[in-house]
């Protein structure tokens, strides 16, 4: 493709058009990253700074604007009477202008309290530690990793088997079943989510205390537990499609040679197909990870406590709770985005190619 345009370099005759080209491309690149830059900058601000509308944080040397969030830990008793450490935020010196402008703005003035831990005064630590602890983001991230791990195991087994059958086996109804599989992509998730919630509740009850009793005392084995979060997504049409496309490219000679040596489908799959399909499998695993990190509606339905809640739900409820603290919210967003960005930086090639083959997000 480079050839083709080099042979007639229309832009070389008119330099301005080239500048324009770069100008537009770079301008859009700026649009793409600007929100992230604002996030980074706001996450380093004090509340006063964040609300003042400045673009860069003072990082503590602007004495006019004081840090007015106090990050406080308290011991409270929950419903079952067990003490729990709760972290919450109060405004120390509430800017009066803010209060006048926005009635209802939370503006508790903190009285000197010996039990209060007023930990950090530098915005960086206040915001990031505040978001980390206040939103319990560490726990939710760990949950997400756990969910992804379970889902990946299931996906690799189920999807590999199914894709292999679609790609390398002759069976009746192959086209029909594959067409039905692809048709499920057209179904809006909301139509599936609502009844699936009832299905999952019912299945969970079968396994629960009043049924088979597979999960001890719990009445429901699936809700608020990993099966509800992972099993429905262990075989998705996208991943089957992707892997099937890859398996179909494996030359028939390999299969003939393997069969000559007396290996059946299972051995061929495990010893030959899987090792040469690592890249495709990696894409499928990436998908599972992204989906677990992104999905909100389904985890909202099937989790009601922090035990298995993924980061999406955790972050959403953190955003909900800290409406009036843009700096904290930005820090929380930063914490949630960072792992994905790192993953993206390391694997961007696979990422872009894999996703451009599939056309779907979470």
């Amino acid at each position: 493709m480079d050839n083709n345009v080099q042979s007639t370099p229309w832009y070389r005759k008119i330099k301005i058009s080239r500048i324009l080209l770069y100008g537009v491309l770079i301008a859009y690149a700026l649009v793409s990253v600007l929100p992230f830059l604002v996030m980074l900058s706001t996450s380093l601000m004090t509340l006063g700074e964040a609300n003042s509308g400045r673009f860069l944080p003072s990082l503590g040397d602007d004495s006019d604007i004081t840090n007015c969030i106090v990050y406080r830990r308290e011991e409270v008793f929950n419903e079952e009477g067990v003490p729990e450490i709760k972290t919450h935020f109060v405004i120390d010196v509430a800017p009066e202008a803010e209060q006048a402008q926005y009635p209802g703005f939370r503006s508790t003035t903190v009285e000197p309290d010996p039990t209060q831990e007023d930990i950090f005064s530098i915005p960086f630590f206040t915001n990031y530690c505040g978001a980390w602890e206040g939103g319990d983001l560490g726990r939710y991230m760990l949950n997400t990793v756990r969910i992804t791990a379970i889902q990946v195991v299931g996906t690799v087994i189920f999807v590999t088997l199914a894709s292999y059958a679609f790609a390398r086996m002759e069976f009746v109804g192959r086209e029909l079943i594959f067409a039905i599989l692809l048709a499920t992509l057209m179904i809006p998730a909301i139509v599936q989510n609502l009844p699936n919630f009832l299905t999952v509740t019912e299945i969970g009850r079968w396994f629960g205390a009043s049924g088979l009793g597979l999960c001890g005392e719990k009445a429901n084995c699936w809700i608020n537990n990993w099966p509800a979060l992972t099993i429905p997504f262990m075989a998705t049409a996208v991943s089957i499609f992707l892997l099937r496309q890859h398996f179909a490219t494996i030359p028939d000679e390999l299969w003939d040679a393997a069969r000559m040596d007396g290996s059946g489908h299972v051995r061929f799959l495990i010893q030959i197909v899987l090792p040469i399909s690592k890249a495709a499998l990696f894409v499928v695993i990436l998908f599972a990870f992204i989906a677990a990190w992104n999905d909100l509606a389904w985890p909202l339905l099937v989790t009601n406590g922090p035990d298995w809640r993924p980061i999406s739900v955790g972050l959403q409820s953190f955003f909900d709770g800290e409406q009036n603290f843009p700096n904290l919210r930005m820090a929380g967003a930063m914490i949630a985005i960072l792992p994905i960005l790192l993953l993206y930086a390391v694997t961007q090639r696979t990422f872009i190619e894999g996703l451009s083959q599939s056309g779907l997000k979470g």
């Binding site: 480079d2 083709n4 345009v5 080209l21 537009v24 491309l25 859009y28 649009v31 793409s32 990253v33 929100p35 604002v38 996030m39 706001t42 609300n51 088997l161 059958a165 679609f166 086996m169 002759e170 069976f171 009746v172 109804g173 079943i177 499920t184 057209m186 179904i187 998730a189 909301i190 599936q192 609502l194 009844p195 699936n196 009832l198 299905t199 019912e202 429905p232 262990m234 075989a235 049409a237 990190w293 909100l296 999406s312 972050l315 959403q316 955003f319 843009p326 930005m330 929380g332 967003a333 949630a336 985005i337 994905i340 961007q348 990422f351 872009i352 996703l355 451009s356 056309g359 979470g362």
Partner: protein
């Protein structure tokens, strides 16, 4: 599935008609292994991908608030849509009937091509009906298995269908289909290429059966309705408008096949009929949907605005960017990586960023830009007012009174969601367009250049038409994506926006999750599903004409 396994097993390559010859045995084993490999994935896809649609249909017929309550028939649909619900179901029944008849036509055509007596393929209808009925028994049983015991005890729900009966029927159907097949091949002159009619037969019986059941069910519900007379009048109104639109379409299609003089005349007539139908529809719609859930229609309208304003802008920007990136320039790779970042970042987090950027504070990022451009700060995500009116007012172009009289278009809050969506998906679309551009052969450009085509002409006459498969794919994905959109809207929504930014998916979720009105919200979800299906079919139809697959 087992049905097809065996039925085609008997497809003999030669005159040998024994059921299990050595070759057949091998094929059977291959089939069994394949289904063994497939079964876990298929089980999951069926249980959580396909079954929920049928189950949603069942739930939507009940009052279901956490627990299953009494049977309500179409009442949930009527609550959501008004009397339009009856029309809606009649239309689905008619559509199903048309699909079934088209299938029959296809079968008849095949039989003509194969030069066999016309009744030969129709023998398959007997096993087809038995198999379809068996499948129905199993699906009904599975659906009602999830009905709640209390509801069953109270006589408000009943367990229908029988899995064993279903399985036995399917087995009988399969055996019958084998026998019918042998009979058919004996009746037909051309034995070698005789296709298997069992699967089409099952499809025909199922669609026609469903059409009849749905039609009679709707009729029965309509007769039981308290406002029977009123509803009938409304349905007649709506039907007249739809018939007008259909006539307009038919004239248009007819005109397209005529020579140019007549075509012009017919197009004018078609346009007139269309406009008349549209105006009539717009006039009677408020009457027909009286008593419906206003928020349901508002959420659909929000979805349509969202979709209409997002998809073209997003695809336009992406196509332009991709075309520019495709030139040999420095930094192509890094730019692509940067464009992709918004897409890759977790949606909850990026939506969280936008909710801060577009907050109602006068000092928020978006407001500062607005002020820099010479406007007054607005409330963005917390503003339920019309976007165009509010923004024009912000720049002092119209008075507040005029601004509040503008009602056509999305709310300002929804506009932010549209911005967000464009920002996220442009990068993805650009990457796909780049892949599409790579598939266009260079020789075409070279030839055109020799003929002296300008670069705009190259784009207009080569790139744009040859890119149409990619454009089509992306527009399907994007439109369906906007209808599915949930996560970012749920994060961005504010109480102050008064639900003006709730698209269909979000509104249904909220009625389900917060309102716990399971029956009501699944009924609306089914309506959305049908709308998406119709949109997809229309898009498909348009694409057949204007997408060039080279």
């Amino acid at each position: 599935m087992a049905t097809e396994t065996v039925s085609q097993k008997s497809q003999p390559s030669t005159a040998s008609h024994r059921l299990l010859s050595g070759r057949s045995k091998r094929i059977l084993r291959e089939n069994l292994t394949a289904y063994l490999f497939l079964s876990p994935a298929l089980l999951i896809v069926f249980a959580f991908g396909i079954f929920p649609i049928f189950f949603a249909g069942y739930v939507s017929l009940y009052k279901w608030r956490i627990k299953q309550n009494e049977y309500r028939g179409l009442a949930n649909y009527v609550t959501a849509m008004g009397d339009v619900a009856y029309v809606f179901f009649f239309l689905i029944a008619i559509a199903l009937a048309i699909v079934g008849i088209l299938e029959i036509v296809k079968v008849v055509r095949t039989s003509k091509k194969q030069e066999m007596p016309f009744y030969v393929p129709f023998l398959s209808l007997i096993p087809g009906a038995i198999i379809a009925y068996g499948l129905l028994e199993i699906i009904l049983r599975l659906i009602t298995r999830f009905a709640q015991q209390e509801a069953i005890d109270a006589g408000e729900a009943s367990v229908l269908g029988n899995i064993w009966l279903g399985l036995v029927l399917i087995l009988i159907g399969v055996v019958l289909s084998l026998i019918v097949r042998r009979l058919q091949s004996r009746l037909s002159d051309n034995r070698l290429f005789l296709p298997d009619f069992t699967i089409p037969a099952v499809a025909i019986v199922a669609t026609l059966g469903l059409a009849v059941i749905l039609g009679s069910f709707t009729l029965e519900q309509l007769q039981q309705s308290e406002r029977y007379g009123l509803a009938v009048v409304r349905i007649a109104y709506l039907a007249s408008a739809l018939v007008l639109l259909a006539i307009g379409y038919l004239i248009w299609m007819w005109g397209a096949r005529q020579d140019s003089n007549r075509r012009l005349l017919l197009s004018i007539i078609a346009a007139t009929v269309f406009i008349a139908g549209g105006v009539w529809l717009a006039t009677i719609w408020p009457v027909v949907s009286k008593g419906a859930d206003v928020k349901f229609y508002e959420s659909l309208a929000a979805t349509v605005w969202y979709s209409m304003l997002t998809v073209p802008v997003q695809l336009g920007i992406a196509m332009a960017l991709a075309y520019m990136l495709y030139q040999p320039i420095w930094g192509k790779g890094p730019l692509r990586v940067i464009y992709f970042i918004p897409y890759i970042a977790p949606a909850v987090a990026t939506a969280g960023i936008f909710s801060v950027l577009f907050s109602l504070r006068p000092t928020s990022f978006a407001n500062q830009i607005l002020v820099a451009l010479g406007g007054e700060p607005v409330k963005w995500l917390s503003d339920p007012g019309n976007a165009v009116g509010t923004l024009l007012e912000s720049f002092g172009l119209i008075s507040p009174a005029t601004a509040s009289s503008v009602t056509f278009g999305p709310s300002l809050a929804l506009l932010v969601v549209i911005f967000y969506n464009i920002w996220v998906f442009v990068g993805y679309d650009t990457v796909i367009f780049l892949a599409g551009l790579g598939n266009i052969p260079n020789t075409l450009y070279e030839a055109a250049r020799i003929d002296g085509a300008s670069s705009w002409k190259l784009f207009r006459h080569i790139t744009f038409p040859l890119l149409s498969p990619t454009t089509y794919f992306l527009s399907v994905i994007s439109i369906i994506g906007t209808f599915k959109a949930f996560t970012h809207i749920y994060v961005l929504r504010t109480p102050a926006a008064q639900g003006t930014m709730d698209t269909a998916s979000v509104y249904f979720f909220v009625t389900f999750f917060r309102g716990a009105r399971f029956g009501f919200s699944t009924s609306m979800a089914i309506v959305l599903f049908v709308i998406i299906l119709v949109l997809y079919l229309i898009q498909n139809r348009i694409a057949q004409r204007s997408v060039f697959y080279g």
